[in-house]
């Protein structure tokens, strides 16, 4: 049985198509990373899976049931960490977890849940006094109540510090080991790399890639970048390097040339630069980061190039309220 299945799903809001003719399959027991920049339609897709919004066209099936008709039954077996939620300010963390336990009609010790998400110490404080990261942990705790068959985590790392991101990753792995299907969205690829069996990349409401990380890497190319630091990266030098056979792309970052090329042509690249009058101070190669891979898909560039700030894991909550995503 498939955990989540979308067939030909389109969602139109007044004046904007958030999701367009989307087919998506998440198999039972897998960890699926749902990627895409803010506003790509990730949250809208998740909202349709949870029946917060209904598709304009197409069918959404979750755990073998229709997402709209059997929504309550689906959510009984699903743990959800929604995006852009807020807590009940006046109720304590423990009350929140107790509410989840009561709602799911299960017999669980709330303290054990709070312990697992690292909120045991703060269980009796009002959730209104919690930090963003603590609220995120609290909602995760509520999602974990009752050993759900399916976990849906929408931007789970948002607001978490690096330790929180690590805890989140460990919990996802543990839940997957227990046999749960995990479906989570992120706009930071580095977060999904370590835990996902498969990733799907959404851009402007359409799935542009779906594969394992390795498969995506192969599909995009070998992704090696040669960095050559010269005395002056003039246009002549750039043109000379571009003319070398096997070079896909050349960018200048100050006096450093960023060259995407086949592995066998590196020496010819350096020779070409020197022939054009440049003095090569230094050169080395770097593998394309996953972030580059992600950007290559989401920005529609054919070949990934190395970025200075690739692989950033911290996440800004400020960018979460985009029109289509909200």
């Amino acid at each position: 049985m498939t955990a989540i299945e979308l067939r030909g799903v389109t969602k139109e809001f007044p004046g904007v198509t958030a999701v367009s003719d989307l087919d998506l399959t998440v198999e039972e027991g897998e960890v699926y990373g749902f990627l895409g920049p803010n506003g790509a339609g990730k949250s809208t897709t998740i909202d349709m899976v949870l029946d917060f919004v209904r598709p304009t066209e197409g069918t959404v099936t979750v755990l073998g049931r229709d997402a709209t008709v059997d929504s309550v039954e689906i959510r009984r077996r699903t743990g959800v960490l929604p995006d852009g939620f807020s807590v009940y300010e006046r109720l304590s963390g423990r009350k929140h977890v107790e509410f989840a336990i009561e709602s799911k009609e299960v017999d669980v010790d709330p303290d054990a849940v709070l312990e697992r998400v690292g909120l045991r110490e703060d269980a009796d404080r009002k959730a209104g006094d919690y930090s963003k990261g603590m609220r995120q942990r609290l909602a995760l705790g509520m999602a974990l109540v009752g050993e759900p068959d399916l976990l849906i985590l929408d931007e789970p790392s948002s607001g978490l510090d690096p330790a929180g991101v690590k805890d989140m990753r460990e919990i996802v792995t543990a839940e997957a080991d227990r046999g749960a299907t995990v479906f989570f969205s992120s706009h930071v690829l580095a977060q999904v790399e370590a835990v996902c069996d498969r990733v799907g990349i959404l851009r402007a409401g359409e799935l542009v890639a779906e594969d394992s990380i390795e498969g995506l890497r192969e599909a995009v190319g070998d992704g090696e970048t040669l960095e050559v630091t010269v005395d002056a990266a003039t246009d002549d030098v750039l043109d000379a390097v571009r003319a070398v056979e096997g070079v896909d792309r050349v960018d200048a970052d100050g006096d450093t040339l960023l060259v995407s090329c086949d592995p066998g042509v590196k020496t010819r690249v350096i020779a070409a630069a020197e022939d054009a009058g440049a003095v090569v101070d230094d050169f080395h190669t770097s593998e394309a980061s996953l972030e580059d891979l992600f950007l290559a898909y989401t920005e529609g560039e054919g070949v990934p190039t190395r970025r200075e700030d690739a692989g950033t894991t911290t996440d800004e909550s400020a960018v979460r309220s985009e029109g289509v995503d909200g």
């Binding site: 919004v53 807020s86 009350k95 709602s103 909602a139």
Partner: protein, 271 residues
Amino acid sequence: MSLLAVANKDFQDTVRSRGMALLVALFSLLVAVFAYVVRPQGQADQFATELLLSAFVGPVLVTGLVPLVGVVVGYNAVSGERESGSLKLLLSLPHSRADVVFGKVLGRGAALALATFAGFLLPALVLIVVPVTFNAGSFLGYTVFAAALGVVFVAIAVGCSAAVATRQRALIAGIGVYALFVLLWGLFTGRVIGAFSGPVEALPVSMAQIRTFLDVANPTSGIEVLANGFLADQLFSGESANQQVSAVAMLVFWTLAPPLAGLLKFDRDDL
């Protein structure tokens, strides 16, 4: 049960709000002031409980203030959660949207009823202690009607809250309902009767019957009919028994129909 889980959560959330404490204090204060006004003078040691209730507490506090409080307690029940995003947390759990709407009517209605009892009880305790004859039975019985009226208005306001997307629109709708039932009802029904005086003659009902119906159609006057019957020791008996039964039916209608109508809209909405 899912509905009770929502009701319980909402009750706990509502009674912790600062507004609740304020409400209890306000009720206590007003009842105390009115009690002072009608306190026994000179030789008389008979405390006029019925006078206190029907002349002061009734018109000012119960039919004037309680409906307003009901609207305030109910208007952001669904729209507030929708605007803040806590509705996402709520609907991530296995609750239907019907559970949410009716759970909120129950939870907030219970919270308002509790506040009404607390607000009336504190002054009553003082009245019981002081050496005057105080009809505690009438007073506490009357509180039940006050609380019931509050619950009806909570239900209407929650219905409005479920039907619209924002807190502001829910508040406008709630205030509109309050204005209609509390401030403008006489004017409104007068117009209606005036406009239809011609056609009505053709129907097998009298003008007086229509007036009686319009009287109990409004929850505030419906409660008044019942409360006055109770104070006169004629609840569901005597001359106005039929009217009282109609009043109860209308109160039940106003408690169920607005949340249902709100739910119909809410159930179809994208959140």
